[in-house]
């Protein structure tokens, strides 16, 4: 190895760019790391399966296997189902953040990043933003699949865009919860189980797949205020696919949804960044 050929005095030839405010660096660093995570999805076929094919299987499963047996008030089950599946998909998609961060920790990448003069929020933000991009991609695929199996949203373009926006909002919020779990557990295996375990009761004890009215009263209280429920109901209202929802219902569901998004971010963004600053490989 020709090592001594380039004789350089330490620190002389390359000077870091200076004079940018910390917030600008935080954004630039985060974008750099988000790009890295998105590239990874493209280069690892298993992840493509996870983000694209698994949600499609859920659609088929609920639409054709369980769907026939599920009664929804005033309308077709496929129209009731799809908004629920959208929310479930972005929630599950956030687990990639937990797995990715745990993996970075195990490999010692977090140690390296923490030794660099970069923004300390960027590693986590990069992961959550990458999830957002992936989830948007997944939602586009699911809209197409939904259309194929009979999903027909109504409403205006404005309502449609608003629906996608709140969906991406909750996607981002869930990714931050996931980030905190990933930084807490230290191993990929634990991130995988820990990342999913809380999502199962949350998605199934909600209006994602079945109306909450059929649930026993003790469960209904939880299900009605569950973020998955209020998100799914917001989408149903905005897509005009559930005649049982009035405009007032939709508005209230939307307010609760935004409330959940803001509350989750307000708690888990600082919590995750704090945890990142204390994390090192074992």
């Amino acid at each position: 190895m020709a090592v001594a050929r380039t004789s350089v005095t330490p620190g002389t030839r390359y000077r870091p760019v200076t004079g940018r405010p910390a917030i600008v660096w935080a954004l630039l660093d985060a974008m750099l790391l988000a790009r890295r995570s998105v590239l990874r999805t493209w280069r690892e076929p298993q992840l493509i399966v996870f983000v694209a094919i698994q949600p499609v299987m859920f659609v088929v499963l609920f639409r054709y296997v369980f769907g026939g047996a599920i009664q929804v008030p005033g309308g077709q089950y496929v129209n009731y189902l799809m908004p629920g599946i959208f929310v479930q998909t972005v929630a599950f998609g956030g687990v990639i953040t937990a797995i990715g961060l745990a993996e970075d920790m195990q490999r010692g990448l977090i140690d390296r990043f923490r030794s660099l003069p970069m923004s300390s929020s960027a590693v986590v933000t990069g992961r959550t933003v990458a999830d957002l991009v992936r989830n948007l991609f997944t939602v586009v695929i699911m809209l197409a699949v939904g259309f194929l199996v009979g999903f027909r949203p109504g409403g205006t373009i404005f309502e449609f865009v608003l629906a996608i926006l709140v969906l991406m909002g909750i996607s981002f919020a869930f990714s931050w919860i996931s980030a905190f779990i990933g930084l807490l557990v230290h191993t990929v295996e634990a991130a995988q189980s820990g990342g999913f375990i809380w999502l199962f009761p949350l998605t199934f004890a909600s209006s994602a797949f079945v109306p909450v009215a059929t649930m026993p009263s003790w469960l209904r209280g939880f299900a009605e205020h569950n973020p998955i429920t209020v998100l799914a109901d917001s989408l149903r209202g905005l897509f005009h696919v559930n005649p049982a929802l009035t405009t007032a219902d939709t508005r209230w569901a939307l307010i609760q949804s935004v409330g959940w998004i803001v509350a989750i971010l307000a708690v888990f963004v600082p919590l995750s960044v704090m945890q990142y600053r204390r994390s090192t490989a074992r």
């Binding site: 190895m1 005095t9 390359y14 590239l39 490999r107 010692g108 390296r112 030794s115 660099l116 003069p117």
Partner: protein, 331 residues
């Protein structure tokens, strides 16, 4: 960088629950030199590196890197250091070039500089052919080289290498040593941790032996060896019957303090003058008609140093690393 030692620690203490990982560690590394932190697994080497690189905060004690305090000014330290940790910290799904470019940009080099520096490093580390392939496809040696290259992106004046050759084959290990030696020649101050005595012997200007979280001895390789004692001469005879007569000859030449190993038919004793005594011994063995199969002048190895200082072996993993874990060299 401010004046004083580029790396300095006074009384560092770090506990994990009941375990005292560091128990009053004192350390100084002079400008442009390499100090090897030598010790067994669990001696506190990695904990020390993590404190210097601002990843961990000490419970008590003081440490400065490049003149900045690790607890008060961690952000200033970060732009003066490079770190290659124990595990290979590269992104498997990025190419070699992309990895280095990303690190460059995270050091806040301009995109153009980051790219230029990445090209320089792949050339320097013999990774040109693989530069466009994702790191997942790299061999163990190539990953290590890429990892080391990543720690050098910013041309840091102070470098921390935590067991940089663990798990490498002898050839890659030799290559890594060349890179590290060249960096010291160029003026980089390096703290390197290792459990390989041979590695410390080969690379370090000074060696600090750590055990149970504190430095138990410090000096050059020669100084440490002298602490254990001087040279020894060791002779092996061909016939069992000659052993006691050989011991008599050795006693006459060296000292009464000889040790005899009947199984190996070896006799050894301390030697003050080294080589000049060898000649006399050979003549007398010849005159007495004693056939010898081996005659060696030993300098104590760092292995001996470690054993003497701590009362236990340095390398607990030597069984897992056959062949080159503790190459004892008679010189």
């Amino acid at each position: 960088m401010k004046n004083g030692y580029p790396i300095q620690a006074e009384g560092l203490v770090k506990t994990y629950g009941k375990v005292r990982a560091l128990d009053g560690l004192d350390l100084q590394v002079e400008q442009g030199t390499l100090l090897a932190l030598l010790g067994p697994n669990g001696a506190g080497k990695t904990t020390a590196v993590r404190i210097f690189t601002t990843l961990l905060k000490p419970d008590s004690g003081r440490a400065t890197v490049a003149g900045y305090d690790v607890t008060r000014e961690p952000d200033r330290i970060k732009s003066h250091i490079g770190l290659a940790g124990q595990s290979v910290a590269i992104d498997e799904y990025l190419t070699g070039l992309e990895n280095l470019e990303m690190i460059g940009q995270l050091y806040h080099l301009s995109a153009r500089d980051a790219k230029r520096r990445a090209f320089e490093l792949v050339a320097q580390f013999d990774l040109i052919d693989a530069a466009g392939r994702v790191a997942k496809t790299y061999s163990g040696g190539m990953r290590r080289r890429l990892d080391l290259a990543a720690s050098l992106v910013a041309i840091p004046p102070v470098l921390f290498l935590d067991e940089p050759t663990t798990g490498l084959d002898p050839r890659s290990r030799r290559q890594t040593w060349e890179v590290i030696s060249a960096l010291v020649v160029q003026g980089t101050t390096i703290l390197l941790t290792t459990q390989y005595l041979e590695e410390a012997d080969e690379l370090a200007n000074r060696i600090a032996v750590v055990d149970a979280g504190r430095v138990i001895a410090e000096g050059t390789s020669d100084e440490l060896k002298n602490r254990v004692g001087g040279n020894r001469i060791e002779v092996a005879v061909a016939k069992d019957a000659d052993l006691s007569r050989a011991a008599e000859v050795v006693r006459r030449h060296l000292s009464t303090d000889v040790s005899i190993d009947p199984h190996q038919r070896r006799v050894s004793g301390p030697s003050r003058d080294g080589t000049s005594q060898l000649a006399g011994l050979v003549r007398d063995f010849d005159a007495a008609g004693i056939a010898i199969t081996d005659l060696q002048l030993h300098r104590p190895s760092l292995d001996d140093v470690f054993l003497t200082l701590t009362g236990h072996q340095a390398e607990q993993e030597k069984a897992a690393e056959p062949g080159w874990g503790r190459a004892r060299r008679a010189s």
